[in-house]
């Protein structure tokens, strides 16, 4: 049952991602992107990362995707047509380059998987033997919070400052300029 669901989510994510890049209708592609993100969130659930899965939906669907659709809706029609023309020309010329890029990525990933299977780190096998693994019923939000405020405090604060900078920048840009 779980395996069926896993493959269903995987097919959903990959299939709709392929459609997103191949659709001519930009509006439909943007809405289809929601399905990709949803499938990804489902895959995160299978890694027992429920918090990450929900954050994915919250941040990407509730924020980023809506922003993208807004940008699409508010942009000029001619500008969009122009963009579509140039982008198709841009993509059609170096077809072999993008193919090379994707093949490279695939090779890196396959190499990673093979390497991982041959030399699994010691601490992982040890913990599996001791039974120190995360169970689906565990509450890992507390762990996340504690880790954020201890181990990963510096990155966490850096991100906060970065977001604050973006917020102040947005407020500054949208402010009415004083005429005098």
């Amino acid at each position: 049952m779980e395996l069926v669901l896993f493959y269903a989510f995987a097919v959903l994510a990959i299939g709709s991602a392929l459609l997103v890049v191949s659709l001519k209708n930009t509006a439909r592609a943007l809405f289809l992107f929601f399905v990709v993100l949803f499938g990804m969130a489902g895959l995160f659930l299978f890694a027992l990362a429920d918090f990450v899965a929900i954050t994915q939906i919250m941040v990407y669907v509730g924020g980023v995707l809506i922003l993208m659709i807004f940008a699409f809706m508010l942009s000029n029609k001619e500008l969009l047509a122009d963009l579509q023309n140039t982008s198709s020309r841009f993509l059609s010329m170096p077809n072999w380059q993008s193919l090379l890029l994707t093949l490279g990525f695939l090779a890196v990933m396959i190499y990673g998987i093979i390497e991982w299977q041959q030399h699994t780190p010691n601490w992982i096998t040890q913990n599996i033997h001791k039974g120190q693994v995360i169970l689906p019923s565990d509450n890992n939000i507390n762990q996340l919070g504690i880790k954020f405020m201890t181990h990963y405090l510096l990155p966490f604060e850096v991100i906060s400052i970065f977001l604050l900078m973006a917020l102040i920048g947005a407020a500054h840009l949208s402010r009415k300029e004083d005429k005098q």
Binding site: F34, I54, F70
Partner: protein
């Protein structure tokens, strides 16, 4: 096999409940509107007009599917389903009584916030798919409003979560009554673990949560696109807003989603701030009112009564207050609700480390 059966039965039960609730709420809405405006409301169909909403839904179900010629057919057809499913899924983690909850997860509250934000995509899809200027304007207004008001909702919920220390809605509910395993303090001083009742609700455990709840209530009205925050479907300016082009069963689903959303936010507010399924009656000496009125059936009863009361307040507000202008809406959100919600959050932190040690 039996677990699979339960997995199918629960959603069906929730769906039936939403459908029944919508029928009832539309009737209540009309009757309350009639009362507020000093008229009778529906009176012709059935005794006291009780069958009016049944007649309406029958009419909607019989209607033909019509898609406008210029509409994007796929987006137009998918949008109502997405809007409804987003709200419907939200019901899956809200507890009805002690340990009587469709899905008991550690991330319940966060999950609801996330799936409700999917609703916005559905509205945008409906507005764009209709290919109608009024629909598009309505949906853009709806999104601007929903995204802005998600912040006060989130911040007021964070203030409550800082006090409860868990995102699990079942545990949040449990820690507001006599079944709680930890000590509960009325206003932070008086241990009311055995007394229970209204004294152990979250809003009275930490009084600043009352302010938080008011913020949550106001912002949740905006999340449901209800008056006084109904500029997305302002009839006088935009015909019907994002659902102008919809008719028949598709319109029925959008309508169902709207009323389900009303009940969902009412229930969420009840679970987090107003004691969930716990009885409001405290134990007084030997008169064990709280003990007598807590249990599975009592729990469902109290959840329903409290939520329906909040829904009634929502309806009452709709027929009392005039609609906000767009700029007033944003001023209220960004200059009043969000700063106050931040203040509540800060007080929650101080309360946690000074009073609840």
């Amino acid at each position: 096999m039996s677990s699979l059966f339960i997995h199918i039965l629960t959603p069906v039960a929730i769906f039936l409940f939403i459908a029944l609730f919508t029928l009832f709420a539309v009737y209540a809405e009309r009757k309350i509107a009639g009362f507020v405006q000093d008229r009778l409301g529906p009176m012709e169909t059935g005794k006291f007009g009780l069958l009016q909403t049944f007649a309406d839904i029958l009419k909607l179900l019989q209607k033909e599917f019509i898609s406008p010629a210029a509409a994007d057919r796929i987006l137009f057809a998918v949008a109502p389903i997405l809007i409804f499913v987003a709200v419907f899924v939200g019901f899956s983690v809200v507890p009805w009584a002690a340990d009587f909850v469709p899905a008991n997860t550690h991330t319940g509250l966060f999950f609801i916030m996330a799936v409700v934000s999917i609703d916005a995509i559905g509205i945008l899809m409906a507005g764009w798919g209709s290919n109608n200027k009024y629909s598009l304007l309505g949906s853009i207004r709806a999104i601007a409003q929903m995204i802005s008001y998600e912040l006060p909702v989130g911040l007021s919920l964070i203030a409550a979560v800082m006090i409860t220390q868990t995102l699990n809605l079942n545990e949040i509910a449990l820690n507001q009554g006599i079944y709680s395993e930890q000590d509960l303090f009325f206003l932070g001083i008086w241990n009311v673990k055995d007394i229970g009742g209204i004294l152990s609700w979250n809003v009275f455990q930490a009084p600043h949560l009352l302010v938080s709840y008011v913020i949550f209530f106001i912002a949740s009205l905006a999340e449901c696109n209800r008056a006084p925050f109904d500029i997305p479907e302002a009839e006088s300016e935009l015909i019907g807003g994002f659902h102008t082009e919809y008719g028949g069963i598709r319109f029925a689903f959008i309508f169902l989603a709207e009323y389900a959303m009303m009940f969902l936010v009412a229930m969420l507010g009840v679970v987090i701030f107003l004691g969930a399924w716990n009885s409001p009656l405290p134990n007084i000496g030997n008169v064990r009112l709280a003990d007598w009125t807590t249990g599975l059936y009592w729990g469902i009863f109290w959840t329903l009564i409290k939520s329906l009361f909040i829904v009634a307040v929502q309806i009452w507000i709709r027929w009392t207050l005039p609609r906000f202008r767009a700029d007033q809406l944003m001023v209220l959100c960004w200059k009043i609700l969000i700063p106050v919600a931040f203040l509540c959050m800060a007080i929650s932190g101080i309360w946690r480390i000074t009073v609840m040690v």
